[in-house]
């Protein structure tokens, strides 16, 4: 059986940056952060892999996941809603409620 030719370093890097960009395009805070973290972890794992066959299979997996992620990000942008309380910027200070009768 012929040796598996692993994907080039360039192909992996390009897939990595596209995946990161897609993950970053989620409008929901939790999903965005989760997929950014997962993408980073996944490619870090790929970087430490030395077996060409496994690199190839992980690469193919990542290509498939990117397609899913792309569609999910679009749906999320369409229906994504309000910001979360953690995302509050300094310009939007937290409103404090006080009693009006004092």
């Amino acid at each position: 059986m012929s040796a598996v030719v692993p994907p080039s370093r360039r192909a992996i890097l390009s897939l990595y940056s596209t995946s990161l960009r897609t993950a970053n395009s989620f409008s929901s805070y939790n999903f965005r952060h989760y997929f950014l973290r997962r993408t980073k972890e996944k490619f870090r794992q790929l970087q430490n892999e030395s077996d060409p066959a496994r690199i190839q299979s992980q690469f193919n997996e990542a290509v498939k996941e990117l397609a899913v992620l792309r569609r999910s990000a679009i749906v999320n942008q369409l229906y994504g809603g309000w910001k979360l309380a953690v995302e509050r910027t300094p310009e939007q200070p937290e409103e404090t409620m006080t009693r009006s009768d004092n």
Binding site: F26, Y29, N30, F31, H33, Y34, F35, E41, V68, L69, R71, S72, A73, V75, N76, G81, W82, K83, L84, A85, V86, R88, Q92, E94, S100, D101
Partner: protein, 494 residues
């Protein structure tokens, strides 16, 4: 030149001030004199700046102008930390479901055309994913509408099928599914689940005998007590794998081994909180029936699954009769999209379980350490070795409900969603032997796959601030600071 309206307003204020001065105090229903009626020339629609009429029920309090909500974009949502109630649908799950909500709308039970075949194929794939997650055979999985239906199906089904010879059922004091069988639903220790009270009455009338096993201090049942409670006419033992309020994990493997020794006793577990979060294997645990819920493992709501063992065969009476789908146990057309959703959720859960668990453990440690380092008198309810994604904390001298109200930026619950509408203390915590005041002051933090470190830090910051503020207002806290033992006080004074 002033616009006409404001001129009129000026005139009006001048006149009303003069009127107040001359008449002294005016009541609300006192008629005005005819002389003053003639000067009210301002149109009735006009309302001046800060125009305001006090009503008699305001009792002298001022009112704030109603706060206007900005557009949807400006609105801020609270952080979601209630993963035991439900979890968000994973975007990957939704992506798998969407084709079956649009073009592939076939009925999975249609045998005569391609629409049916592709839907059936999708459902069978989903069944396989669910089965793989719990180490079962795909043929053992029955899709239902959720864990509540599965619990009903399993408990009532088995009990009714064997009712000629066996009329005894065992469950624990902290299992919620037991409620719908109890004929003692009014007794002090019953754990009422409001939504199923009706079916509980119904089956209670059928005269089943129910044993509620007490739990130990750490929430785990004692095997000796379980063995002692078994009777020759026991048909079913139902125990929750992971408790939804405290995260306590029962020793399922040991219980399963014990029950296997007794022939004819079926073992049911409500594993809605466990599947996809901790490793679950039906053969290792010797479970005969298991309830799984889709929306607790990042899947859609409205779908669940039952594991019903085929070898040795568990026989039960179906609740729904009809077309004989799902081995005749649950007739009715399967919702293809939802089934695909729970299948994809199970597949992802299996793939991510280890990573998720490690991360949730880390976040949970961060949360507990963060709160403990700054707030004293915090008690963690339940077992330390329980599921880390469920952190149940009691803040002494603070009422849980007031804490919840004050934490409007965090979506939390003080117990299970079924009891959160009432102010009663949690029955689960009472069953663990927690004092009433501690059960009252408990909060449940549910961490999940999508929780971030920033959110946990935000929660820690807010909890510390709010607990400090509420304790400052509390006379009890003041007494504790002065070194008075609260329990020694005789409150009645008579």
């Amino acid at each position: 030149m002033l616009p006409r309206a404001s001129r009129a307003a000026l005139r009006r204020t001048g006149i009303s001030r003069a009127a107040t001065l001359s008449h002294g105090r005016r009541g609300f229903v006192q008629p005005s004199g005819a002389d003053r009626a003639s000067v009210m020339d301002v149109p009735s629609t006009y309302q001046g700046e800060a125009h305001f009429t006090p009503r008699s029920d305001m009792l002298g309090f001022k009112l704030e102008a109603p706060r206007r909500e900005g557009s949807a974009k400006e609105k801020i949502r609270p952080i979601y930390l209630d993963m035991q109630a439900t979890t968000p649908v994973d975007p990957r799950v939704l992506d798998a479901m969407l084709p079956y909500m649009t073009d592939q709308y076939g009925n999975p039970h249609s045998r005569t055309h391609a629409y049916g075949w592709e839907a059936e194929q999708a459902v069978e794939d989903a069944r396989k994913h669910v089965a793989d997650l719990i180490g079962a055979d795909p043929k053992d999985i029955v899709f239902t509408s959720g864990a509540t239906e599965t619990n009903n199906m399993a408990i009532k089904g088995v009990a009714r099928f064997h009712k000629e010879k066996k009329r005894h059922i065992i469950t624990t004091q902290t299992v919620r599914s037991c409620k719908f069988l109890s004929k003692h639903s009014y007794s002090t220790n019953s754990q009422e689940h409001k939504c199923v009270l009706d079916s509980c009455r119904k089956l209670g009338e059928e005269g089943f005998d129910i044993t509620y096993l007490p739990v130990q201090k750490n929430g785990i049942i004692s095997l000796d007590e379980l063995e002692a409670a078994l009777r020759p006419d026991t048909s079913l033992v139902s125990i929750m794998t992971v408790n939804n309020e405290t995260g306590v994990i029962q020793p399922m493997k040991e219980i399963g081994t014990l029950l296997r020794k007794h022939r004819g006793v079926y073992f049911h577990t409500d594993a809605a909180q466990a599947v996809g979060k901790i490793p679950v294997d039906v053969n290792e645990m010797n479970v005969d029936l298991m309830s799984i819920s889709g929306h607790k493992l990042y899947g859609p709501k409205g779908i669940g699954a039952a594991y019903v063992r085929r070898r040795p065969r568990v026989r039960l009476e179906p609740i729904l009769s009809g077309g004989g789908q799902e081995r005749g146990l649950r007739s009715g057309t399967l919702p293809t999209a939802l089934a695909v959703g729970i299948g994809e959720a199970a597949r992802i859960a299996k793939q991510e379980m280890q990573r998720d668990h490690a991360r949730i453990s880390e976040l949970s440690r961060r949360l507990i350490d963060g709160i403990n380092s700054r707030v004293e008198h915090v008690v963690r309810n339940g077992d330390v070795n329980g599921y880390p994604g469920c952190v149940n904390l009691s803040f002494s001298y603070v009422e849980g409900e007031s804490l919840l109200m004050a934490l409007k930026d965090i979506a939390l619950s003080s117990g299970s969603a079924c009891t959160s509408a009432s102010l009663e203390p949690s029955y689960v915590l009472r069953a663990l032997g927690a004092a009433e005041d501690m059960a009252h002051s408990s909060l449940r933090f549910g961490l999940g796959r999508f929780t971030t470190e920033a959110e946990v830090d935000f929660v820690i910051k807010h909890i510390i601030r709010t607990v400090d503020r509420l304790r400052e207002m509390s006379p009890l806290w003041e007494m504790v600071q002065e070194g008075i033992d609260i329990n020694s006080i005789d409150w009645s004074q008579h």
